[in-house]
């Protein structure tokens, strides 16, 4: 046997691909506070895009703008070639944007399986009465969706906690269930808000593996906020850096890493 079996990792991103999402001059204020100030960047189809920055830089606000929870006072958002109007998170979800949250937002009393099934809600077309009957079309719809959910459970290796109420799970697993629920939507754009916060090294390695696999195997575009620089540098194709709501750098991880503004923003500047 020769070295010919050694894996060749194909780059998942099509660098020349059209942007899936483009933000142009986005400004968001809360009263007198400018959370985001004239920020423009894009997310290309199939890439892993990291949004980083010190505390209070406006990263989470940015995700909230992308998924329609906040409405920027200025600027345009173009998603899949269409300029977005004022809308609700519900619309973003039905357009294929899914997200996870910084502080786990699962239904604690429900099982892992039910939580992930909740992620399929938008895929279920049968009404309340049909569901009550649990017969015919409603049943086959349930089976079809359950199958999709089981594939995600298999993918994220959470078979053992399928029937466990998520409130009883350790934090790292809850994060994984949250990712599973987001994946259940079959998203085109997946927003991850600090997917590794509070995890130990092993959990981080696992989560990194899953994020890469989601991106590579399913072609899902991912935008993530993360504080662990090692993770950001290893995972992402491109990084955008925010500081006090202003974009200070944008580019490949190694470029951003050397950028003096970024170093200053993180370490502070001598006065």
């Amino acid at each position: 046997m020769t070295a010919a079996v050694v894996p060749i990792r194909a780059a998942a991103t099509d660098a020349a691909g059209p942007p899936l999402l483009a933000l142009e001059g986005v400004t968001l204020s809360f009263g007198g506070v400018r959370a985001i100030n004239d920020v423009s960047f894009d997310v290309r189809k199939g890439e892993i895009r990291a949004i980083i920055g010190p505390n209070g830089a406006g990263k989470t606000s940015m995700l909230n703008v992308i998924n329609g929870f906040y409405h920027p006072q200025q600027g345009t958002i173009t998603y899949k070639g269409t300029v977005r109007r004022r809308m609700r998170p519900y619309d973003a979800a039905s357009q294929g944007i899914a997200r996870t949250f910084q502080n786990v937002a699962l239904f604690k009393g429900m099982t892992t399986l039910d939580n992930i099934m909740a992620g399929r809600t938008l895929k279920m077309k049968r009404g309340f009465l049909w569901q009550c009957l649990r017969y015919g079309p409603a049943l086959s719809e349930e089976i079809e969706n359950r199958r999709a959910v089981e594939e995600i459970i298999d993918f994220l290796e959470i078979e053992a906690i399928r029937k466990t109420p998520v409130g009883k799970l350790p934090y790292g697993l809850q994060k994984r269930v949250e990712l599973a629920r987001a994946l259940a939507m079959d998203p085109e754009l997946l927003l991850l808000d600090e997917p590794m916060a509070g995890m130990n090294l092993e959990e981080k390695e696992d989560m990194s593996r899953y994020i890469l696999d989601v991106n590579r195997l399913w072609g899902t575009t991912i935008a993530l906020i993360e504080h662990d620089m090692g993770v950001v540098m290893d995972l992402s194709d491109r990084v955008v850096v925010l500081d006090y709501g202003v974009k200070i750098a944008d580019g490949a991880p190694e470029e951003v890493q050397k950028n003096q503004d970024v170093i200053d923003a993180y370490l502070g500047v001598p006065h």
Binding site: V5, V6, P7, R9, F155, E159, K163, D213, L217
Partner: protein, 662 residues
């Protein structure tokens, strides 16, 4: 051995022949199950035959032929079991490899066995094999079961299991006579050929490849299938490592002989749930699994309501009194039977149901000594738990306990058709139907293991009880003598100590010394719990271990062990005279334990030489400084003053040793 294989010429004597027979006789019965996407999938014997045949013919197209070794690397998956059968049907030899082995260990086995191909479970295993490809020159190609993550790997030497099967099926379509030809070759397979090479886990030096013959394997499995009356209605959950003789025997060989169904767990983490869903009728687990389950039950009971706790306490007492007797068919008063029946309804039945034990007819445990209380607990619940003693070289069974003749402190009388004897130096030696052909490519060690008259040396020391049960006391080379000639079996004493929940590890010393001493490790969970209730505050393991009241607690345990030892004529002289509680936990990172959590007595004796000196020079305490390795690899040292306690020996039935060296 003559008589081991019964003289019925038509009986199948290889595993592939048995497969053909089951497909013919019980083609519609379930042969294998696996949970996939949350649903149990079942393959009948007829379907398994089809899968195996396709895989075998595919492998043949790839150049696998008689005598070739094929590694099987992974967990219990139907396709890996089929691979074994497919390989065996071609006259080639499967070599199962421990899935959790690191790449270097795998490289050694693959190179030593001259493996030409490997069937891997998933990307993890494929990666390991690719990593060591330069050390395994004969390895030509890899096959994988689970495609995930392997999409962008080069295809030259790597194929999916389904691709191999497709090639086999295509060949059958092209040549309709191929299937019959394959079946005819299987039917002509020789029982004397090597059926499998099982590598021993290698706690003592490099692992050895144990060659087992097809006829021997089938004969051995036939004996125990008859012994435990297993039929094709039985069912097992195969969760033991594929490369371990226990899985190959208890699950694979017995299923092939009896025609019962093997269920494969969904993943290693779901075994407890799968157990409950499958409800196996035959079960094997090492003692620590039974211990873990008991702990789980106990902890959950503490959270239950008062009424339930009282009910469980009451009926467990009933079970302790009558359960084992009812199970063994001994006379039990009618009131006892009624109380037990009520207990079965209210406590034992539901408890067994939760654990997935409801349908178990036969359960075995082996590998380590099992605590008498633990053993009695499970038997009291009505679980037919028995002990066996076996070795890879014997193809498992050397002794096993028969229904109704069960003891916690013996491993039972010789298994059917096994000849057993104790050599002059106390070593157990056997001859069995499944006895190995030799170590692969290691004549020297084969010769060391065999006696001139064809018995196999086990390396274990033991003796027979008056009624013919074998009692294993220790590894033969660890058994020593005190300076006055009294037998000293360290592990025997250590096991007795470790049966106490408060004692995590124990190391006994005494070879060539005047008396026996012991170093103990407290069990932080159990002692910590006790300390909380006893209002003892502590900041660290070290502080708790040095607390005088904790040492008092352990003194009671040691005293009880001495009392037990005093009751046994052979052991009464080896009572513990002095002991200490170590200031740190014995740890595999510090090389004090092996990776399988066995104490390395010699290493510990060197490392704690000052403490051993103190144990024997009569001092009451000693200050020590010990180097430790932290989890992240940093090194440091801890210092402590360790106090030493004296014990008063109990008078035994035989004259005890009086103040030999103090």
């Amino acid at each position: 051995m003559a008589g081991a294989v019964e003289a019925a010429p038509a009986r199948e004597d290889t595993f592939p022949k048995l497969l053909l027979r089951h497909a013919r006789e019980r083609g519609g019965r379930p042969a294998m199950r696996e949970k996939h996407l949350g649903i149990w999938q079942t393959w009948t014997w007829g379907e398994v035959l089809g899968e195996v045949r396709a895989a075998a013919l595919g492998c043949e197209r790839r150049g696998i032929g008689p005598g070739d070794a094929v590694a099987i690397v992974g967990a219990n998956r139907p396709r890996l079991y089929w691979s074994m059968l497919a390989v065996q049907s071609l006259g080639a030899v499967p070599v199962p490899v421990y899935a959790d082995s690191v790449a270097d260990e795998i490289a050694y086995v693959l190179a030593h066995a001259e493996v030409v191909a490997a069937v891997c479970q998933d990307q993890e295993q494929v990666d390991k094999l690719i990593q060591v490809a330069d050390q395994t020159p004969k390895l030509r190609f890899l096959v994988y079961d689970e495609p995930r993550g392997l999409g962008d790997y080069g295809k030259d030497h790597l194929s999916a299991f389904t691709e191999i099967q497709d090639e086999g099926r295509a060949a059958m379509t092209a040549d309709p006579g191929l299937a019959d030809h394959w079946a005819a070759r299987v039917a002509a397979g020789s029982p004397d050929a090597v059926s499998v090479i099982l590598y021993t886990s290698g706690t003592t030096g490099r692992s050895k490849g144990v060659m087992l013959s097809a006829g021997g394997c089938v004969a051995a499995a036939r004996d125990t299938v008859a012994f435990d009356r297993l039929t094709d209605r039985d069912e097992v959950l195969a969760y033991l490592p594929l490369a371990w003789v226990g899985d190959h025997y208890l699950n694979y060989a017995q299923a092939m002989v009896a025609g019962f169904c093997i269920a494969c767990p969904e993943s290693a983490e779901t075994v407890t749930q799968d157990l409950r869903e499958i409800g196996p009728s035959f079960y094997f687990a090492p003692p620590r699994v039974f211990e873990g389950l008991l702990t789980r039950v106990t902890i959950r009971m503490e959270d239950a309501s008062r009424l339930k706790r009282a009910m469980v306490r009451h009926f467990l007492a009933v079970a302790r009194r009558h359960g084992a007797a009812i199970l063994d068919g001994r006379p039990v008063p009618l009131t006892g039977r009624l109380a037990y029946a009520l207990g079965e309804l209210l406590v034992y039945g539901p408890m067994k149901n939760v654990l997935g034990f409801s349908r178990i007819r036969v359960a075995y445990t082996a590998g380590e000594a099992i605590g008498p209380d633990l053993f009695a607990f499970w038997r009291g619940l009505g679980l037919n738990l028995k002990q066996l003693y076996g070795q890879t070289e014997a193809f498992l069974h050397v002794t096993c306990q028969a229904d109704g003749d069960i003891r916690s402190d013996t491993v039972g009388p010789p298994a059917p058709h096994v000849a057993l004897r104790i050599a002059d130096d106390g070593e157990v030696q056997f001859k069995s139907p499944g006895m190995f052909l030799g170590y692969f490519r290691d004549e020297e060690r084969t010769a060391e293991t065999m006696t001139p008259d064809g018995f196999v040396k086990t390396g274990d020391a033991g003796f027979f009880t008056p009624d013919g049960h074998l009692k294993i006391i220790d590894r033969a080379r660890d058994v020593g003598r005190l300076s006055n000639g009294t037998l000293f079996a360290p592990k025997y004493i250590e096991n007795k100590l470790k049966f106490f929940p408060t004692i995590r590890e124990a190391v006994a010393f005494g070879d060539a010394r005047g008396f026996v001493t012991a170093m103990l490790n407290i069990d932080l969970t159990a002692v910590g719990d006790w300390a909380e209730r006893a209002d003892i505050s502590y900041a660290s393991y070290q502080e708790l271990a040095a607390h005088p009241r904790v040492i008092d607690l352990l003194e009671q345990a040691v005293d009880q062990v001495n009392r037990d030892l005093a009751a046994e004529p052979a052991m009464a002289g080896a009572q513990i005279r002095r002991f200490l509680v170590l200031h740190k936990e014995l740890d595999a990172d510090d090389s004090e334990l092996t990776r399988t959590q066995k104490v390395r007595r010699g290493f510990i004796a060197d490392r704690y030489a000052p403490l051993i000196e103190a144990l024997y020079d009569g001092s009451t305490e000693r200050h020590v400084r010990t180097e430790v390795t932290f989890e992240d690899g940093r090194r440091g040292a801890i210092e402590a003053t360790v106090s030493i306690r004296d014990m008063t020996p109990h008078a035994g039935p035989a004259p005890t040793l009086r103040e030999a060296a103090e």
